[in-house]
């Protein structure tokens, strides 16, 4: 059985972002593998079978793919085509589905729960829909038994146990367990790896239409907060002053 993990690169979570001419700019902050995708790679590597890392994008997507190889994925595939410059999650799901079908014989496809740039969190479920597979998202634990799988999912109200037939799509939450670090050998192997690039013709599809249009990107309004430091006296006196201020906000 083959296992695919779908990943991408994002600006480091500590990057400062500013809107410049309607575009997001992160200055010289590094691009890294999306942090949630590291959990997806970890979960994929914990299954029986060869793990193939898959990413759509240009040269930068190799940052994520090489990280996945260094963590232990067997192969990496990049989907790259000039016609894919402007994608929404719907289009991404269609292209990933086509690539997963081309890989063939895939039983499990892993995703990060969301990417920390667009923060949409739609691609796992949408890819599952295109493939006609179950979406077993936000997984805390995954137990495969033959062609069935039992997944504990994290939802707002607590946890939910779902059983399903493979093939299926998975995304992970942090409770799954911390992702492994790339090994020294892994990093060496990844740096030498040749990553094949597929274009849309090789996938046998046209560029999917995008329905979601980004009209602009803006800096959030500056918060006009000036901190008032409460000091002087004993903890009880400080607490009294602070309690007065909180009450005066009329939110309780």
């Amino acid at each position: 059985m083959k296992i695919v993990v779908c990943i991408k690169e994002v600006p480091d979570s500590a990057a400062t972002l500013v809107a410049e001419d309607g575009q997001a700019s992160w200055g010289d902050a590094p691009l890294v593998i999306n942090p949630w995708d590291e959990y997806a790679v970890e979960a994929a590597l914990n299954q029986e079978g060869d793990v193939i890392a898959l990413s759509i994008g240009g040269e930068d997507s190799k940052i994520a793919l090489k990280h996945a190889l260094a963590m232990g994925c067997k192969e990496a595939i990049q989907v790259s085509d000039d016609a894919l410059s402007n994608m929404d999650t719907q289009a991404t799901a269609k292209v990933l589905s086509a690539a997963i079908q081309k890989i063939g014989d895939v039983d499990m496809a892993f995703f990060g729960r969301q990417a920390i740039d667009g923060d949409a969190g739609l691609t796992p479920a949408q890819t599952a829909r295109v493939l006609g597979w179950s979406a077993l998202t936000l997984a805390v634990s995954i137990a495969v038994d033959g062609d069935t799988v039992k997944v504990e999912r994290s939802i707002e109200e607590g946890r939910e146990t779902v059983s399903a037939k493979l093939p299926a799509v998975f995304s992970l939450v942090k409770d799954y367990g911390e992702p492994r670090y790339p090994s020294f050998m892994g990093i060496r192997k990844a740096s030498r790896a040749k990553i094949p690039a597929w274009d849309l013709a090789e996938l046998g599809i046209e560029a999917p239409a995008t329905t979601v249009e980004v009209v602009g990107i803006e800096n959030p309004p500056k918060r006009d907060v000036r901190v008032e430091m409460i000091d002087g006296g004993s903890p009880a006196e400080i607490a009294e002053k602070l309690a007065e201020r909180i009450m005066a906000e009329k939110i309780l």
């Binding site: 799901a93 939910e160 146990t161």
Partner: protein, 338 residues
């Protein structure tokens, strides 16, 4: 404009953001129908009227008793392709987000997800959504019908329920038909106020373990003693939270050190919250933590270090030891709130 609002619920208990979505739909103008799917969920139809829906589409089927997104998507997509609403609104919950996503694929549309503001631009909804954990705002539209939007909880005002208000109740046939997966059971989270719904949050960070006046019980390892000390700190935080009717939050450092479960984590890789009042105790204010709480109305920071970055985002700050200030604040608030 024909607007449908999907009422998200867990076991027939509606998520409050569903009612906020009805309010948001009415503010846009047009005919507002609430869509209630499930089994044994008649009560939600009545509530939907009380919160302002003019019509309720009620689809009940034993196959919908448990929420499996595939079944619900099939049912909802069939209804929407028959009745052709112009706009579908969902609350951004884990269920609402994925349901919206699948329905968008079925109907060849697209989702504007986790939206915090909407306005009409002709017949299009111009939506504002935070990206990069709220470091930037994106303005976006959906160029297909139905337009599909999920709304962030607490970003839109919840309407006042008008008791006894009613409207047109339409029972609809639902087709479900995906037998690939089944829910086997639930383990509900232990009581307390949920973080995402909370109007007040009291949070603790790594500083909770830093109380040199406490001696851990004999026989504990270094790590165990640290966790034990932190739990004493979080107990103070929980007491204040109880007085304020608040939820308890935490930084990732506190979660990673096993002081408190991940479900309590606030931040970029935890929950994004926007309460009216956020009290951060022993939290430095790392950019990834700020990403999760910077939109709180009033932020109070209690930290030993006068240079902690959290003070730059706070309305009120106290430089001090949380183990002294938090219990004192609890007493002071108790005296005021009774």
């Amino acid at each position: 404009m024909k607007i449908w609002v999907y009422i998200d619920h867990f076991k027939a208990d509606a998520v409050s953001a569903s009612w906020e979505a009805i309010g948001a739909a009415k503010a846009l103008g047009g005919d507002v129908a609430a869509v209630v799917l499930g089994f044994g969920v008649e009560n939600l139809a009545n509530s939907a009227f009380e919160y302002g829906a003019d019509e309720v589409l009620l689809g009940q089927d034993a196959a919908l008793e448990d929420f499996r997104v595939e079944n619900y998507a099939t049912a909802l997509s069939a209804l929407a392709s028959d009745a052709t609403p112009d706009l579908l609104l969902f609350p951004t919950t884990s269920r609402g987000r994925e349901l919206a996503g699948m329905v968008a694929m079925d109907l060849e549309s697209g989702v504007l997800v986790d939206v915090v503001a909407m306005e009409m631009d002709g017949d299009k909804v111009l939506a504002t959504r935070p990206i990069y954990a709220g470091k930037l705002l994106q303005k976006t539209v959906c160029n297909a019908t139905p337009q599909i939007v999920t709304l962030r909880g607490r970003a839109f005002e919840k309407p006042e329920a008008e008791s006894g208000r009613s409207g047109t109740l339409t029972q609809v046939q639902v087709t479900s038909g995906d037998e690939k997966s089944t829910v086997e059971g639930y383990a509900e989270a232990g009581g307390g106020v949920s973080l995402t719904d909370a109007s007040v949050i009291v949070s603790g960070g790594r500083g909770t373990s830093n109380n040199p006046n406490l001696t851990a019980p004999d026989g504990m390892s270094e790590d165990e003693a640290e966790i034990w000390r932190a739990q004493q700190g979080f107990a103070l935080i929980a007491e204040l939270a109880e007085t304020l009717g608040a939820a308890v939050g935490a930084s990732r450092a506190a979660v990673d050190a096993n002081y408190i479960p991940y479900a309590n984590q606030v931040g970029q890789t935890g929950k994004v919250v926007s309460p009216d009042l956020y009290i951060a105790n022993g939290i430095s204010g790392a950019i990834q933590h700020l990403a999760g709480m910077r939109n709180s109305k009033v932020i109070v920071a209690i930290n030993k270090d006068a240079d902690a970055p959290i003070f730059k985002f706070a309305r009120y700050g106290v430089v001090g030891d949380l183990h002294e200030i938090v219990p004192a604040l609890n007493e002071a608030m108790k005296a005021r709130l009774g």
